[in-house]
């Protein structure tokens, strides 16, 4: 495994949690349980327009809210928080809504103390993995693009010089070394040059 993932269980007391829920019995149960678990926490209601930056995890009551409003609230922060949706109904339109806002976990009303910790940890882990996968996907994508570029450049060289693939690659690498550049950059230059040259031919 690559970068060490932080341990959601170990880090639980470092979290800043926000409860966005009308102040009723469910909210009280939830706030008390978050307090027992030992996180830093605050309560806000009604849902503010923007999410203050310090919160890593939010519990949000999605009842009578639109996906658009919820999404704009959650994404108002540069680093979107781990999101736990609190739902009153388990019907398909509510479930659709929690998918749409990208919730990482769900709590059912009335909220009970048991289950809150598991839900927070599942959400935390799911969110962290999601972020890690996104990061890795980005890395793999750019790697793939680079490989594609070097391949294209290799074929250009093979065509122009009548050399083998291996020789073409060695050429690119040698160039990269002498120019203190990367194989991708050299490949990009070759592709650019080729396109200019072929365009000239057209004229």
């Amino acid at each position: 495994m690559g970068a060490k993932m932080s341990d959601p269980i170990q880090d639980i007391r470092d979290l800043h949690a926000l409860v966005v829920h009308p102040r009723d019995r469910s909210a009280d149960e939830l706030l008390q349980q978050v307090n027992r678990i030992g996180c830093n926490f605050e309560h806000m209601w009604p849902m503010p327009k923007n999410l203050p930056e310090k919160f890593d995890l939010i519990f949000v009551d999605v009842t009578d809210q639109t996906a658009q409003r919820l999404t704009s609230f959650i994404n108002s922060n540069e680093k979107p928080p781990t999101t736990i949706a609190i739902i009153g109904y388990e019907n398909p339109s509510v479930l659709d809504l929690i998918f749409e806002i990208g919730a990482h976990s769900v709590l059912m009303k009335p909220v009970r103390a048991a289950g809150v910790l598991s839900s927070m940890l599942m959400a935390r882990r799911f969110h962290q993995e999601q972020l890690r996968f996104e990061k890795e996907l980005k890395k793999v994508r750019s790697k793939l693009e680079n490989v594609q570029k070097v391949n294209d450049a290799k074929f250009i060289l093979m065509r122009h010089r009548g050399i083998t693939e291996r020789e073409a690659y060695d050429l690119i690498r040698k160039q990269a070394m002498t120019k203190r550049s990367t194989t991708t950059e050299i490949a990009q230059s070759i592709i650019n040059a080729e396109s200019i040259l072929s365009n000239m031919g057209d004229v």
Partner: protein
């Protein structure tokens, strides 16, 4: 005259009967004392007892029976976490009030439960600190195979790591384990020579383990067995020779020399003839019944919401000292003491924390250097004077 009926769910038969009988006695003694002084609002408290025979599922079934058939709303009971987990859904569904007078692994909160025993921050952390200072930091873990020992060892391993220590071995045994079953692990202990054996074997198997350790040449004065569950009851059954030198951390020990404890022991002896089986869990049951009675005196009814309101934040001058129910989490502020068994088989308190520790049932990683867990050496006489 109508009585206040309460349910008692402790086993006098089976693997955890030693400790549960001691809890039952604690509860019965408290009820006696309450009734002797006129009951609650002039009405006596009437215990209704069933025998779960140390069989996990029976606890849930009998709790249901108490609530449905006997119309009981307040139950005291359970030793193992697995039996508590059976009772929990029943009392929640029926909205009854359940008093659990036992140390456990934490990570639970139910509005229907009042937790009277220590959680790890109240006993494991002070114990680990003490052991590392007094004996060294190479530990060997031996436990019964259920949730409490495993979680308890997780906490211990973590504190140990913070103190630069190591776990040389870890083994779990069936609750029914006999002396011979421990042979190979005791061989391993003898070979690896840890500084401390941390044992979370409970009930009858604890007795079997300590005896087998002694028989194999294990010496408590050199490498003690340290435990959170080895109480006066077990020590009595093990005998002084095999148990000398071993260590236990608990909120209460029989040898505490305070007026409240002397009164408690005196009345215990009058009722049961001897105090050999008085343990911290017995004291917890005794104190919880008293706290319930005080709350009932205030509310005048057995309804769960009312009683809970009266109980949260309530304090009591228990045999161990002042205790208080934490309104944040329904657990109890408790004293924390560490005691060593002397050559007569009595626990001698070696050190204690200055004041009752706030329960923190959701503490994942206790910090070894937390000042609130620091214990103070008790005067050389060994007996506490308060």
């Amino acid at each position: 005259m109508k009585s206040w009926k309460v349910g008692l769910l402790f086993s006098e038969i089976g693997v955890t009967s030693i400790i549960e009988r001691s809890q039952l006695h604690g509860a019965l003694l408290a009820i006696d004392r309450i009734n002797a002084s006129g009951g609650v609002r002039g009405r006596p408290v009437e215990p209704v007892r069933y025998e779960p025979e140390s069989v996990t599922q029976r606890y849930g079934e009998l709790a249901e029976k108490m609530i449905v058939e006997d119309k009981i709303n307040v139950i005291f009971g359970c030793y193992t976490s697995s039996s508590r987990k059976e009772v929990l859904p029943v009392v929640e569904r029926r909205n009854a009030l359940f008093f659990y007078p036992t140390l456990y692994e934490g990570f639970e909160y139910s509005p229907n439960v009042i937790y009277g025993g220590a959680c790890p921050n109240q006993n494991s952390v002070p114990l680990a600190n003490y052991l590392m200072k007094a004996y060294g930091n190479r530990f060997y873990f031996v436990g019964s195979d259920y949730i409490y020992p495993r979680e308890s060892n997780r906490v211990m391993r973590n504190i140990l790591r913070q103190g630069g220590g190591e776990v040389l071995g870890e083994a779990y045994f069936d609750l029914e384990a006999k002396g011979a079953d421990f042979a190979s692990v005791i061989d391993d202990i003898m070979e690896k020579k840890p500084d401390v054996v941390f044992a979370t074997v409970v009930g009858q198997s604890c007795i079997e383990f300590v005896k087998a350790y002694h028989a194999a040449g294990g010496n408590g004065r050199l490498c003690p067995i340290a435990s959170l569950t080895m109480n006066e009851g077990e020590i009595d059954a093990i005998g002084p020779e095999a148990s000398a030198g071993h260590i236990t951390a608990a909120p209460y020990f029989r040898s505490i020399n305070s007026p409240a404890n002397r009164r408690f022991l005196k009345s215990y002896e009058e009722k049961f003839g001897s105090t050999v089986d008085v343990t911290s869990c017995c004291e917890a049951a005794y104190s919880q019944v008293h706290m319930f009675a005080k709350a009932l005196d205030e509310t005048g009814e057995l309804e769960t919401e009312c009683l809970r309101e009266a109980l949260l934040g309530a304090s009591f001058d228990a045999p161990q000292g002042q205790i208080k129910i934490d309104p944040d989490n329904n657990h109890t502020y408790l004293q924390s003491r560490i005691a060593k068994v002397d050559e007569t088989g009595e626990f001698v308190v070696e050190s204690k924390v200055r004041r009752a520790i706030k329960p923190d049932p959701y503490l994942v990683f206790p910090a070894i250097h937390d000042w609130s867990f620091r214990t103070l050496k008790v005067a050389a006489s060994g007996r506490e004077n308060e």
